[in-house]
């Protein structure tokens, strides 16, 4: 479980996050939703420590990450897997080397063990026989899968995904969402997914946090998102005509 307490962050004089608290549960896909520019990515970066919050703290299973020393932070980070908005594969390395990378630098596994684990993970995300392809030679959806494989290869306890299905067609998005959900259940890890895709919310949103202009306006499940009573959330959920009709 990850707990965030009163996280605030400003850039220059622009207040992006205005004190956000909440929890992300183990074994669930925890979603952070909100329209573009509300600070979702900034919140995620604060949680994983790529940005230091001005105020507040992040607890990983009770361990204070924000105020921990370098040693402790590194230790916690090694339990984190992350899928970036643009996949962030290393373009000088091929698919296999990309997925193997965390094992290379963080573990003392033998070459055979590493290859076995890499192939297992690639197979898990539905990719086979692409080991020697370079990132520039594969499609966006495949990159996301490789990104997921790389994120889970070192058996993380925490998985973060920043817009796992941006730039993908609805069908592929769904497959990626399902994959993330299955992995979460299978390994019983704490997964946090940032998204602005309503399909994802409906499919995998067991726990949803809604951000609006740097504030948390609502928290709940996908079941009761349609009758939250929060008008900003309704505007977000019923953004398109079909959804409006459905309402």
């Amino acid at each position: 479980m990850i707990e965030i307490n009163n996280i605030a962050k400003s850039f220059q004089d622009k207040e992006v996050l205005k004190g956000i608290s909440g929890t992300f549960d183990k074994g669930k896909c925890n979603l952070i939703i909100g329209s573009s520019g509300t600070g979702k990515s900034v919140l995620l970066k604060n949680i994983v420590g790529l940005i230091k919050p001005d105020q507040g703290s992040v607890l990983y299973d009770g361990r204070d990450f924000t105020h921990a020393g370098k040693e402790m932070q590194t230790e916690i980070r090694r339990e984190i897997g992350m899928l970036f908005q643009g996949s962030a594969l290393f373009d000088s390395k091929n698919v296999e080397q990309n997925v193997m990378f965390p094992l290379d630098v963080l573990t003392k596994m033998s070459k055979e063990e590493k290859i076995e684990r890499v192939n297992f993970c690639l197979k898990r995300v539905g990719l086979e026989n692409v080991n020697s392809k370079m990132p520039s030679e594969i499609s966006g959806g495949m990159k996301k899968r490789v990104g997921i494989a790389r994120a889970i290869v070192n058996k993380p306890n925490y998985l973060f995904c920043d817009e796992p299905n941006s730039g993908l067609d609805p069908q592929t998005s769904m497959v990626i969402d399902e994959l993330i959900n299955e992995i979460t259940k299978e390994y019983d890890i704490t997964t946090v997914v940032v998204t602005h895709d309503m399909n994802s919310v409906i499919e995998i949103g067991e726990k949803v946090m809604f951000l609006y202009k740097g504030n948390k306006l609502w928290e709940g499940t996908n079941e009761d998102i349609t009758d939250s009573g929060v008008s900003e959330l309704d505007d977000f959920v019923f953004a398109n005509r079909m959804m409006k009709k459905f309402r």
Binding site: G49, I80, M82, F84, Q85, A88, F160
Partner: protein, 243 residues
């Protein structure tokens, strides 16, 4: 001034929280190939022509019956060792390797590859930048030595081809009143320039923000700033060690 402070902090970061030694060995070897081996072609071309042109121009300027022919090659030698090989090649090196380093790190920054390393708990500064600086400091002095040989050899070939000075005189001049310290001076310069080019370019690339356009700007800034730093360091070292 503020960016100088940030630069110093950046170089300080290189030595904390490093990965295992063996990780670095293979990284450094990769970088050596990139900065050293891949620069061989341009360094060879520039050096040979520099030697040839210097020989012809020195000969052109020394048309006096009182000056013996071998002075030409002596001048070529001293110019090569003191300035042409370490400094001019450093400018070429900044253009090739500096822009390459800044472009690579800038791209890694804007595509979140550096963030990906950080999230894994890897010190991205030391992981990405330290091998580049070490490789640069290993390879650049070798390039300078090679360049020195080729430059002087280029002059020799020209003198044979044009007959402005006989091969015998040329070699006599090369050996005449040779000061060994000049070689050491050239190598000291080479180490300093290698460090400056790699660290300044890495700094420029590492702190890129924005998109592809900014990566281009970082590359350009890396080359210009490296060149200025090289010339300043050249002046300071000359004052310090020769003055």
């Amino acid at each position: 001034m503020k960016s100088l402070g940030k630069f110093l902090l950046f170089t300080g970061q290189l030595f904390v929280r490093r990965e295992s030694f063996s990780t670095y060995v293979s990284l450094v070897i990769d970088e050596c190939i990139k900065v050293g081996y891949n620069s061989l072609f341009i360094v060879t071309i520039v050096s040979v022509f520099m030697g040839a042109v210097t020989t012809i121009q020195t000969a052109y300027n020394l048309v006096s019956p009182f000056i013996p022919d071998y002075v030409i090659s002596l001048v070529v030698r001293d110019m090569t060792v003191l300035e042409l090989a370490p400094t001019i090649i450093a400018i070429v090196y900044a253009g090739k390797v500096g822009s390459n380093i800044a472009g690579e790190l800038g791209t890694m920054r804007i595509t979140e590859q550096i963030d990906a390393l950080e999230v894994m708990g890897i010190n991205s500064t030391s992981y990405l930048v330290l091998p580049k600086i070490i490789a640069s400091m290993l390879m650049y002095p070798m390039l300078v030595v090679l360049s020195g040989f080729l430059c002087i050899y280029g002059g020799y070939l020209t003198s044979l081809a044009t007959g402005i000075i006989s091969g015998h005189d040329y070699i006599y001049g090369i050996r005449y009143e040779f000061i060994e310290f000049n070689i050491a001076f050239a190598l000291i310069k080479a180490f300093a320039f290698a460090f400056l080019v790699a660290s300044i370019s890495a700094y420029k690339g590492y702190f890129t923000t924005g998109g592809a356009l900014e990566v281009g700007k970082s590359s350009t800034a890396a080359v210009t700033n490296s060149c200025i730093a090289i010339l300043l360091a050249d002046y300071l070292l000359a004052q310090l060690l020769l003055g």
